[in-house]
């Protein structure tokens, strides 16, 4: 099944002020973690002496403070720096660490409204807030309320819980995919939110994988960078079976093998193309406008052969009976019918029942030549 789904509507964008850190390998953070691991505890002097030749005490202090903000180290009761659990794990796992990027206000696009087709965006798009534009559009949200759980903003609730717990998020930032840490500047965090118009197009093959083909933010130009990052992203979402109930109501019954049997009314409609053995159906799910294209199946051999005669013949020059049987077998397989029981008499009978509609008379005469002259 091919699915093209378009979401359009107002979507929440949240903004939070905080320090944003990026995950980088081979940074000074790694050196500090390694030093702390080696010495057990760490002081500013240790860092200054070992890494900065005793000449850069202020720099040593700032380096340590950054690693504390990134939760790699923490101060113990004696005023010395020790590895946190997370810092130890970070050192052990991939020898990478966090570095501070910038302090500011950050917009995050929440994808929780894309349900029911998929739960959220694979990457949270993050961009600096452009404070000069649309300041009136933003409204404050009580972070404590959100952190406690607010059914109105399930995505935001989850995000704030992640950030508060010191967890990183997968984001799209600065035109690339990044693991991001955002430490809110205030406790509880100050969160502002606004709605903006979004149009998002996603594709799926019906096996549960979705990819975003296009995103537009017509009201917020500053979100344009997010759109670039979202395009092409893969998401896990619903499978073809999700639509079966609606398709059944619309007259398409699911068969074994993922084919759909159209009812008579659909067979007569332009939505079913029996030359390509596909049908198209459009439906609405929440804010999603969904266009489905899937394979048509026949209920029995006679029906499939009737379709073949009417719509499935190809102009393959002067036909032979073997060639015609082969064409019919290919068509039957596409229709979900095993051609093992097909014989010439059955095929000839189908040509007696039905008139070929798809080819002009010259092509039809050549194709049907073996029926008369073989």
């Amino acid at each position: 099944m091919e699915i093209q789904a378009t979401w359009s509507g107002q979507m929440w964008v949240v903004a939070i002020a905080g320090n944003l850190s990026l995950y980088r390998s081979n940074s000074y953070s790694l050196a500090l973690l390694a030093l702390a691991d080696s010495l057990g505890t760490l002081t500013v002097e240790d860092v200054d002496q070992v890494l900065l030749a005793g000449q850069r005490r202020q720099i040593a202090r700032r380096m340590l403070e950054q690693v504390v903000r990134d939760r790699g180290l923490e101060l113990d009761e004696t005023g010395r720096y020790v590895l946190t659990t997370w810092g130890r794990a970070s050192l052990k796992d991939d020898k990478a660490a966090w570095i501070e990027h910038s302090e500011g206000a950050w917009m995050l696009l929440l994808g929780d409204q894309f349900e029911p087709l998929f739960a959220k965006l694979p990457l949270v798009p993050v961009a600096p807030v452009d404070e000069k534009s649309d300041a009136d559009e933003w409204q404050g949200l009580a972070a404590s309320t959100i952190a406690a759980g607010d059914v109105r903003y399930p995505g935001l609730t989850k995000l704030m819980q992640e950030l508060t717990a010191g967890n990183s998020i997968d984001g799209w930032f600065g035109q690339r995919r990044e693991k991001l840490l955002i430490n809110p500047l205030s406790n509880p965090a100050k969160v502002r939110a606004r709605q903006t118009k979004v149009e998002l197009v996603a594709h799926s093959d019906g096996a549960g994988g979705w990819s975003i083909a296009k995103v537009d933010f017509p009201q917020m130009r500053s979100l344009g960078k997010m759109a670039t990052g979202l395009k092409g992203q893969s998401i896990n979402g619903v499978k073809a079976e999700y639509f079966d109930g609606r398709l059944a109501k619309a007259g398409y019954r699911r068969m074994d093998g993922g084919l759909y049997q159209p009812n008579d009314a659909n067979l007569e409609s332009s939505q079913v193309d029996l030359s390509t053995m596909c049908f198209r159906h459009r439906l609405t799910v929440g804010n999603w406008d969904v266009k489905l294209t899937s394979a048509v199946g026949a209920s029995h051999l006679e029906q499939a052969l009737d379709w073949f005669v009417q719509h499935g013949l190809n102009d393959a020059g002067i036909g032979t009976m073997e060639g015609l049987m082969k064409q019919a077998s290919v068509y039957l397989r596409k229709a979900g019918i095993d051609p093992v029981t097909l014989d010439q008499a059955t095929l000839r009978a189908a040509f007696q029942r039905q008139r070929p509609l798809g080819l002009n008379r010259a092509a039809r005469s050549r194709t049907m030549y073996p029926l008369y002259f073989n």
Partner: protein
């Protein structure tokens, strides 16, 4: 009204009737095959409403001057293979061409599951045969609706013909030569053929021999190059032989010979039907065929014929066909033989020009 004008109007009325009859008989049929020597009237074929259509023609080059000189239609109107590739074969019919194909037939019901319906029609797919508004006028053609058993045999003939090789498949924008040889001929009890068993010639010879009082012959072309002509000439000395022949210089020498032997000759412009009618006033028998009275038709080509017995109701149609024209045409007196003088040297280029046609029919 002059005789010629009356003849022309007769041909025109029959062209209209033939066109209407053929369209009425074959439109709406699931499958149809048409055999002819040449094609010029694409409109007629397009207007025929069938699911599938097979058109079998002669693969000889229609633009050949000698060949075209023998057609009732202007040369420029006939469709060569190049024009068929761009026209008829693209969207109207499957077209196949055979060397020396001259059989003329219309057949519906090609599959065993359909009841066959057949017609022997002396005309080609041309305006002269089937368009009453043809600017150049109409040819005199004969249409014979076949009985059920004859149609079944015609279907067997068409099926056999489709396996005959060599042949040329005329496809959209290209052609494909199908090499090979003639397949085994089915056992035909009714239809008469030239290729490959020459049963048509045998039956014509028998008809001439069996005729007690008279023999009526109509033809487009005649030549003294074959056994049938020799026997007809011999019969003319003993029996009443009436010949109605298209008025063309190429026929003149053979006509002279028959006339000298005692045959009553009438020239009928554009006479294209080929009929042999024996003893028309008493126990008439007939053969209707596509073959001219020439070696090409009686010895070489793909030709079709049908013998009609004295009780066959279609005999009356043949008699009416001949007599309606006979009444309008006076027989020629004994033709003056062409003087063998130096004056005739000036006709030499024309004779050379016509010569190839004499071999082809």
């Amino acid at each position: 009204m002059s005789e010629r004008l009356e003849l022309s109007q007769l041909a025109k009325a029959e062209a209209r009737r033939h066109r209407e009859s053929l369209l009425q008989l074959f439109s709406g049929q699931p499958s149809c095959a048409i055999g002819a020597f040449c094609l010029a009237d694409e409109v007629l074929v397009r207007s025929l409403e069938t699911d599938v259509l097979y058109v079998n023609l002669a693969s000889n080059n229609h633009q050949e001057k000698g060949r075209l000189a023998s057609s009732p239609d202007p040369r420029h109107q006939l469709k060569g293979k190049a024009q068929l590739k761009d026209g008829l074969a693209c969207d109207v019919a499957m077209v196949r061409a055979f060397p020396n194909h001259h059989a003329k037939y219309w057949l519906a019901g090609l599959s065993e599951l359909e009841a066959p319906k057949g017609v022997l029609f002396s005309g080609d797919l041309t305006p002269s045969a089937l368009d009453p508004e043809a600017p150049a006028g109409n040819s005199h053609e004969l249409m014979l609706v076949l009985t059920d058993s004859e149609a079944v045999e015609l279907r067997a003939f068409v099926r056999w013909l489709m396996t005959c090789r060599p042949a040329t498949e005329v496809l959209p924008k290209r052609e494909l030569l199908l090499p090979g040889s003639l397949p085994k001929l089915p056992n035909f009890k009714i239809l008469l053929l030239t290729q490959p068993n020459k049963s048509l010639k045998r039956e014509v010879l028998a008809l001439i021999a069996e005729a007690r009082n008279s023999i009526d012959v109509t033809s487009w072309a005649i030549a003294a190059d074959n056994e049938v002509f020799a026997q007809l000439k011999a019969a003319a000395r003993e029996k009443k032989v009436r010949l109605m022949i298209h008025d063309e210089s190429g026929n003149r020498r053979a006509v002279e010979e028959l006339s000298e032997a005692g045959a009553e000759v009438r020239t009928c412009p554009r006479m294209h039907a080929k009929v042999w009618l024996a003893d028309r006033d008493d126990c008439p028998r007939a053969i209707v065929s596509s073959s001219n009275l020439m070696a090409d038709g009686l010895e070489v080509g793909y030709e079709l014929g049908l013998r009609l017995g004295p009780m066959d109701p279609r005999i009356a149609e043949l008699k009416a066909f001949i007599q309606s024209r006979e009444n309008l045409i006076r027989p020629l007196g004994a033709l003056n033989p062409v003087p063998r003088s130096v004056q005739n040297v000036r006709h030499l280029p024309r004779l050379v020009h016509v010569a190839p046609r004499l071999r082809l029919f």
